[in-house]
């Protein structure tokens, strides 16, 4: 018996040393092939370097909807009927298994690409997988958010927690041996706040929590993303337009002789003569986020009747043209949303509070004490992550110590489906 404990201690020691070593990933041996962080962010990992995962047809999964009857859902005009309940996806194993929650990133739905690829990974490793939309996504704002104004991390965590408990109750036949939690990008920040909330509520007692490419200082992250849409492009006098991108794609397909849209498309495209320049890729990433911001700006304003985008007396029916409202919302970037909607709402309870003070409360820094004393939480980030600023990785190191892994490449979330990373993820949850 004594020998057994000693053996266990030795094994634990071994595990600790390997995990401590794993936190410094050597650039020369890492092997991730894309050194441009913008390209990595857009095209992810080349298909041949991804792990082998089950086919969709071999995953037992279904979409469900949760009716929470929030005020937001009640106040929504009829034409947004699809927003009144929250969709989510559950992939279930046959017998008892651990369950992992995955929280999507900024504006992303439970069914978006990154969530799907994480689902395949964990499902293949024997987990029940539950996919959740980001609190900043359209469906969550309308169907599950108390304030319909996402961005106050503690409030978002409460909303998420309510959703997670309701889902747990809805599937009480599911045999769950332990609960795990992960999230990427903004979803990683959400996961940290949810984990802290769980310490009081004890609804799940998460065994392990993994934060993938989290923002550290939220204001830095949103300013970085806003700036991407200000990147100077070489357009030779033409107006910026997505058509230019499609023109490039058209020429690329013409060269290739056929249209084939598959996983390898982006990599082949970036290796062709039509490849995008770095500023163009930056602007494209910025644009992808801005589409999400426009949705948040519009939806939050509409539900709360703030009158910034939608005139208070506006009537909606099934034929209403929404294009002018989109154009108004599109002109408002992340910081504009924070200043015009988030901060004023926060100031109702915190009179005179500044954006900087709000930022302190909603960023990872607000949880430093909790995070540094909670061994079950780990972080994976990249040295070239677009949403970080100087000092952010140092903060993560101070806070997490050996529980932080910094990969030399990958941009923002581009290496989440790289085999080295997926192996490390599975290893972390197995431990």
């Amino acid at each position: 018996m004594l020998r057994l404990t000693r053996l266990a201690a030795m094994l634990a020691g071994l595990f600790l040393t390997t995990s401590a070593q794993a936190t410094r990933i050597d650039a020369s041996t890492y092997g991730y092939p894309i050194s441009n962080p913008f390209e990595a962010t857009i095209s992810g990992t080349p298909p041949n370097l991804r792990p082998s995962v089950p086919d969709d047809e071999d995953i037992k999964q279904s979409d469900y909807r949760l009716h929470l009857h929030t005020d937001g859902a009640k106040r929504l005009p009829d034409i947004f009927w699809n927003g009144s309940s929250l969709p989510y996806r559950l992939a279930r194993q046959d017998g008892p298994a651990p369950l992992i929650f995955i929280i999507a990133g900024t504006g992303a739905a439970y069914s978006s690409g990154t969530v799907e690829s994480l689902k395949r990974l964990f499902y293949g490793a024997g987990y029940h997988v539950l996919q959740l939309s980001s609190p900043t996504s359209y469906d969550f704002i309308t169907a599950a958010s108390t304030s319909a104004t996402p961005g106050i991390s503690r409030d978002d965590a409460q909303d998420l927690y309510r959703v997670m408990e309701a889902i747990k109750a809805q599937h009480d036949d599911l045999q769950v041996s332990a609960y795990h939690l992960t999230g990427y990008s903004l979803g990683a920040l959400n996961a940290a706040f949810v984990s802290q909330l769980d310490e009081q509520r004890k609804g799940f007692n998460f065994k392990r929590v993994l934060l993938l490419n989290p923002p550290v200082d939220l204001l830095t992250s949103i300013d970085n993303l806003d700036r991407l849409s200000q990147a100077q492009l070489q357009l030779q006098g033409r107006a910026a337009s997505f058509d230019l991108l499609f023109d490039k794609l058209a020429r690329y397909f013409k060269d290739k002789g056929r249209i084939e849209i598959d996983q390898a498309l982006l990599h082949d495209f970036q290796n062709s003569r039509e490849r995008l320049s770095t500023p163009a890729m930056a602007a494209l990433i910025g644009s992808a986020f801005r589409f999400s911001v426009a949705d948040i700006v519009f939806t939050s304003d509409l539900i709360n009747r703030r009158g910034l985008i939608t005139p208070p007396q506006q009537q909606f029916n099934y034929a209403t043209e929404l294009t002018p409202l989109f154009q108004k919302a599109a002109a408002c970037n992340f910081r504009c949303y924070a200043e015009q909607q988030l901060l004023p709402m926060w100031q109702v309870q915190h009179p005179g509070a500044s954006l900087a003070q709000l930022n302190q409360q909603v960023s990872l820094r607000a949880l430093q004490g909790y995070l540094s004393n909670t061994p079950k939480i780990a972080v994976m980030s990249n040295a070239d992550d677009l949403i970080l600023g100087p000092g952010d990785l140092s903060f993560l190191r101070q806070t997490f110590g050996p529980r932080l892994s910094v990969y030399p490449l990958g941009g923002h979330c581009g290496n989440l489906d790289y085999r080295v990373n997926t192996d490390a993820m599975l290893e972390f949850f197995r431990g």
Binding site: F38, N224, S229, Q232, A250, S287, A319, T320, Q327, D384
Partner: protein
């Protein structure tokens, strides 16, 4: 005093030098990925690009939006449950077989349109597909042509018209069929008429007598179409789909 100042300065200096040296490896190797970009002030790329994407010729927008909503509900309440039932009662190889049969029939349309566009090589490849699938695979029940490196190429009459310079015209949302344009709707009509007259493998004739074939084709079409309403998860889905449809067609025509 001077000595002390000097000493302090030295200490400070060496401290600074030391910090500088350390900062090379410090901050965990953070590379500041945005530092090489140049940023411009004023209205940003996204505002102009997204507003350009919204400028699609759509004179029937009010009508189209209503049909879009109709299709959304039809999909939610009829098509998707039908597909779910279909997946539940059929094994995977059978579903694959069904998809291959119908996509094989689609090849007849593709062939006609490839010939009309005088895309010789394309027509040959499609012909080869048709032959392989009909001769080797029983009625196209499995898809050996794909396995043999001849990927599926769709050509429809809308593309043929586009190839000869017919502009797409107004955006149209067709009941049940979904996003289209004046040109592509004409094309769809022509393709349907042609397929019915050709009566390849007697399918058109048989399905007149057995409408279940049409139903199966509809279910299969839905089954192999990855798009789901609501999936873009935005209040502006109509506009986004409208733009993407136009660009997709532009790609297909130009290629």
């Amino acid at each position: 005093m001077v000595k002390r100042l000097l000493l302090t300065a030295l200490l400070l200096g060496s401290g600074l030098a030391h910090a500088e040296q350390a900062s090379h490896n410090a901050d965990e190797g953070f590379t500041r990925p945005l530092q090489d970009l140049t940023f411009v002030a004023g209205p940003d790329t996204f505002v102009s690009a997204s507003s350009a994407a919204m400028q699609v010729y759509d004179p029937l927008e009010r009508w189209n939006r209503s049909i879009y909503q109709f299709n959304y509900r039809l999909d939610q309440w009829l098509m998707l449950p039908a597909v779910q039932g279909y997946v539940y009662v059929t094994p995977k190889p059978l579903r694959r077989g069904v998809s291959n049969v119908f996509s094989n029939l689609g090849d007849v349309t593709s062939l006609g349109n490839s010939l009309l566009q005088l895309k010789g090589q394309r027509a040959m490849r499609t012909t080869a597909r048709l032959l392989f699938n009909t001769l080797l695979g029983v009625g196209g029940l499995w898809d050996p042509a794909t396995a043999m490196g001849l990927p599926k190429e769709r050509e429809d009459f809308g593309q043929t018209l586009g190839h000869y310079g017919v502009p797409s015209g107004a955006y149209l949302v067709l009941p049940v069929f979904g996003p289209s344009s004046l040109r592509d709707s004409t094309g769809l009509l022509a393709d349907t008429v042609a397929a019915n007259n050709l009566n390849y493998l007697d399918v058109a004739e048989s399905s007149r007598q057995h409408p279940q074939i049409k139903v199966l084709e509809a279910i299969d079409t839905r089954y192999v179409t990855p798009f789901k309403y609501g999936q873009l998860n935005t209040p502006f889905e109509y506009s986004r789909v409208r733009y993407l449809y136009g660009e997709m067609r532009r790609l297909q025509v130009s290629e």
